[in-house]
């Protein structure tokens, strides 16, 4: 198991709570320590440090689940929390048998390399140094820097009446830089890793600044264009694919975009997509929120749909040979289903993005996407904007900055129309951290696809 730098034994806490609870109970204890520094106009603006421990008590009664949570760790509060969960589960059970298959049995979990002791120190001096490096890089280019540097250490323990006694600690770090000139032109670069030492702030600053050019903005009207998507844009689209097509519950209920399509071609032959939680390039975890070991799952192979991810709840709904793949995102499984959290899209044969743009006569180069939302679930039809580095591609070369465009297109259609991918992949993340910190990212290359549907542009 990964070593702890926190000094608090979360597993002992989980076992203490379990002793206060009744039968068929799982206790999940999560300690988050994190530090986040924001900056704007090449100056620090906000800095947030969080130290919090959440205890979640899951009780299963006759196929019904109830979860009660608290962050008070005294016995009285923990006993009251356990009682709340028990009472709620019993009240639910009065409605008749439920569908939950019960708590997970112990299974071996693997060690991983998703923890870095230096990062877990959350030293504000490291954050300050990263900011200074970015400010200097931006100043060299005559632009201002905006963005965030953050690091977190999250320790998760699970104890259950079925004998689970698990403990895991992970770290993550994320930095994004938006460089902006006086006219509002902007460029973006970001990095994410297990260890803060793996992020090179100055390089990120220079990459973001290099995307800010003073040339006049070109404009493109609505239409169909070939597109090159950088890994940040690809990663966000794949996260949506995870929700809409690879979620085992949606799939089992017939709502999923791959429902009825497993074993059939859904993407170009060069598309190999997996959830690979054991890959050292991802943000690894040992087990999911039901205590099930994280398993690798082939999702699309050679363009053919192969499978979806499951938690115990969705596997029970799916029936047959379906089993949890270790993708529960909440104790007892989320009502919204499981999710792939370690997506890896295999690279292709292109040496770099220049090779991707080379065959394009007139098209679009996209650094990142913004405010993407689902339009029609079964079609994986999304809409969103480009942002912080959109360029026109003419005669095989990136030529001019382009006014941000709105796209309305299907992720599966884009994957089916993918013509080439870079060999190099990058771990990308949105780094948003709403609620309890749960860092996740997608490992993916840049790609070129045909027929990108532009439905508008901003002004």
């Amino acid at each position: 198991m990964a070593p702890s730098a926190s000094g608090e034994d979360t597993l002992q806490t989980a076992q203490r709570v379990l002793a206060l609870a009744g039968e068929d109970t799982q206790v999940t204890v999560i300690r988050e320590r994190s530090l986040l520094s924001r900056f704007a106009r090449s100056a620090p603006t906000q800095a947030t440090a969080v130290d919090d421990t959440t205890v979640e008590v899951l009780v299963v009664r006759d196929g019904h689940t109830a979860v009660a949570a608290t962050n008070r760790l005294d016995d009285d509060a923990l006993r009251a929390t356990a009682r709340r969960a028990e009472d709620a589960a019993l009240a639910s059970a009065r409605s008749g048998p439920g569908l939950h298959p019960g708590l997970a049995q112990p299974a071996p979990v693997r060690n991983h390399s998703g923890f870095d002791v230096e990062t877990a120190r959350l030293d504000p001096a490291r954050a300050a140094a990263a900011l200074r490096e970015v400010f200097a890089a931006a100043a060299e280019h005559g632009v201002e820097a905006f963005g965030v540097w953050t690091a977190g250490a999250v320790r998760t323990a699970i104890a259950s009446t079925t004998g689970l006694a698990l403990d895991d600690e992970v770290t993550d770090t994320f930095m994004k830089v938006v460089c902006r000139d006086a006219g509002g032109r902007s460029g973006y670069a970001a990095g994410t890793a297990v260890a803060a030492s793996a992020l090179d702030a100055a390089t990120l600053g220079r990459r973001a600044a290099a995307k800010v050019t003073g040339e006049p903005l070109a404009e493109l009207g609505p239409g169909i264009y070939p597109v090159v998507l950088e890994p940040e844009a690809v990663g966000l689209l794949l996260e949506f694919l995870g929700m809409l097509a690879l979620n085992g519950l949606a799939h089992a209920e017939g709502r999923g975009a791959l429902s009825g399509r497993i074993g059939t071609p859904v993407a170009a032959q060069g598309i190999d997509l997996a959830d690979a939680p054991r890959s050292e390039r991802t943000l690894q975890r040992a087990f999911d929120f039901e205590g099930v070991p994280k398993a690798s799952v082939a999702l699309i192979q050679d363009g053919v749909a192969k499978g979806v991810v499951h938690d115990r709840r969705s596997a029970a709904v799916a029936g047959g040979a379906a089993r949890s793949t270790g993708h529960a995102i909440a104790p007892g499984g989320s009502p919204w289903g499981p999710a792939p959290t370690n997506l890896v899209l295999a690279g292709g044969g292109a040496a770099d993005v220049a090779e991707l743009t080379a065959p394009i006569e007139r098209g679009i180069y996209v650094t990142r996407l913004w405010y993407v939302n689902t339009v029609r679930e079964k079609e994986t039809l999304l809409t969103g904007m480009t942002r912080d580095g959109t360029f026109l591609v003419e005669d095989g070369e990136v030529t001019r900055p382009l006014r941000n465009v709105r796209f309305t297109d299907s992720v599966l259609r884009l994957l089916a129309a993918t013509e080439a991918l870079t060999s190099a992949q990058r771990l990308v993340s949105e780094g948003e951290f709403y609620g309890r910190r749960f860092a996740q990212g997608v490992v993916c290359p840049a790609l070129r696809a045909g027929g990108f549907r532009v439905t508008g542009a901003t002004e």
């Binding site: 986040l36 800095a47 130290d51 019904h64 969960a85 504000p124 339009v375 309305t408 002004e459």
Partner: protein, 493 residues
């Protein structure tokens, strides 16, 4: 009704207020400003799905967040340890973080009258006094009324309740406590036939249509009574003709108009965005501080207020999270932009004499940032929805949000709704599936030519407004009445 602030601290929060005021009294002199908040939140969510209890979750958590300013640098530290020792450690951590920052400009904060007293929102029946059995009984009845057609693959009935008790103290002399109670409920179905999938929700798509109110708010929805219509419309949508493409006159229903205001007015008028503080995440704004007082934002029918004193609003409070008293602010009058949403720092940055009272934080572990309160369109004089439809002749009536997206300057947007109804000859006609519309903010709002009267005006709660890093989900309300827009691009998706 919303209670006016009283002089007495809430009994549940008084000991914590003593702790925080003591902490502020001991804040080191090197700290130019400090504030401390204790927030304790109780929440419960219940979901019945496809005939089974799918979820019963509850949470009782709290802690202290301390924010300090040293020179121009800010530091914020949050801890679950709600003790004097825990608070002192958080204060020390916040100071260490602020002092480690690269040098930042030390601009002023807008002055504030120290917040004193206690505020709470009134309610008739505390939702935490309603038994889980009674809640389940209501939800089972509503959910059962959604089922029947095999094409309905998911039927949901849900309710949620939330109580937030807070105490706030600052080195500016603030010492106040607040207690808010919220609840809401909703029903929704997903219908699938082959590759076609349709959704229908009531009373809104953004769960769970909450208000700052008691259980009486949930009972007013009559979920059981509306369920058969919701299910029938979802089934009808599966085979309804698609929404046509082109330009049309549209009437937006109240919930969709709430989101339209939220995305294309509320966020655009956040002063921190205008000042580029959010440029790396939430974005900037097409509006600049220099536009205040002169910019034509929309037609003369457009009157927008931000009102943190509205009874029932999720954005209502006694004081914001910097201790600034709740206020009603005219943002847009007869289409002209008047004011922005601000906190103490952004207000001072553009020379305003006082904050707009819009600093809000998501729980104890996040620091306050500029947020909407209750940003609403004022009622017009177009009568009822039926009157407006009758006056319209030809067009589309769009209802209940399904998809939303807008650029990082809040200019180009695209929305989809669950339903559209044709308007022909001044009457509502057949249902159309997959409706969508797009536009550019000032042109769209200049197309506004009628707003229904006060009898149609109500608050819509949105509990999932994302902003800030680390991410914060804020709860806001928008008052709307159905309104009509001319020459809108429809059928874009």
């Amino acid at each position: 009704m919303t209670d006016p602030p009283s002089d007495r601290a809430g009994s549940a929060t008084a000991p914590m207020l003593d702790l925080l005021t003591g902490l502020m009294a001991s804040a080191p002199k090197r700290c130019a400003y400090a504030e401390a908040r204790h927030v304790a939140t109780d929440s419960e969510g219940v979901l019945v799905r496809n005939g089974h209890v799918e979820q019963v979750d509850s949470d009782a958590s709290g802690g202290i967040g301390v924010r300090v300013r040293v020179g121009g640098g800010w530091g914020f530290a949050a801890t679950r340890e709600a003790t004097r020792a825990g608070a002192e450690r958080a204060l020390a951590r916040a100071l260490a973080i602020a002092e480690s920052q690269p040098v930042a400009p030390a601009g002023p904060l807008a002055p504030v009258q120290p917040a004193r007293g206690h505020w709470s929102c009134a309610h008739e029946r505390d939702p935490f006094d309603v038994s889980l059995q009674d809640k389940l009984e209501l939800l089972f009845a509503a959910e059962a009324a959604l089922r029947g057609d095999p094409r309905i693959v998911r039927s949901d009935a849900a309710c949620a309740s939330r109580r937030v008790r807070s105490a706030f103290a600052s080195t500016d002399g603030a010492a106040c406590t607040q207690e808010r109670l919220e609840c809401g409920a909703a029903i929704a179905v997903i219908a699938v036939d082959g590759d076609e999938l349709q959704v229908r929700s009531y009373p809104g798509a953004h769960e769970p249509s909450a208000a700052c109110a008691g259980w009486e708010h949930v009972l007013e929805f009559d979920l059981v009574g509306h369920a058969p219509r919701v299910a029938a419309e979802a089934i009808e949508l599966l085979t309804a003709p698609p929404c046509p493409s082109g330009r049309a006159t549209v009437i937006l229903g109240g919930e969709q108009l709430a989101l339209q205001i939220h995305e294309s007015i509320g966020h655009a008028l956040e002063l921190d965005r205008m000042l580029l503080d959010e440029a790396a995440y939430a974005g900037t704004s097409w509006v600049s501080p220099a536009d205040l007082g002169t910019l034509r934002y929309g037609s003369e029918q457009l009157r927008i207020t931000a009102d943190a004193t509205l009874p029932g609003g999720l954005g209502s409070f006694g004081w914001d999270d910097e201790g600034v008293a709740a206020a009603r602010t005219e943002l847009i009058d007869e289409g002209i932009l008047r004011r922005a949403l601000s906190d103490r720092q952004s207000a001072a940055a553009i020379g305003l004499e006082r904050s707009g009272g819009c600093a809000r934080a998501d729980g104890f572990a996040r620091q306050p940032i500029v947020r909407m309160t209750n940003v609403s369109i004022e009622p017009g004089d177009a009568g009822t929805l039926a009157d407006l439809v009758a006056d319209t002749g030809e067009g589309l009536y769009l209802e209940t949000n399904r998809s939303w997206s807008i650029d990082d300057r809040r200019l180009h947007f695209q929305f989809a709704t669950e339903t559209a109804r044709e308007i022909r000859g001044g009457e509502l006609g057949r249902l159309l599936r997959n409706p969508s519309y797009a536009g550019v903010t000032p042109r769209f709002w200049r197309g506004l030519d009628a707003v229904c009267s006060a009898s149609e005006w109500r608050l819509w709660g949105l509990a999932n407004c994302g902003k800030g890093e680390p991410g914060q989900l804020m709860r806001v309300s928008h008052g709307t009445a159905p309104a009509r827009f001319r020459d809108v691009q429809v059928g874009v998706a």
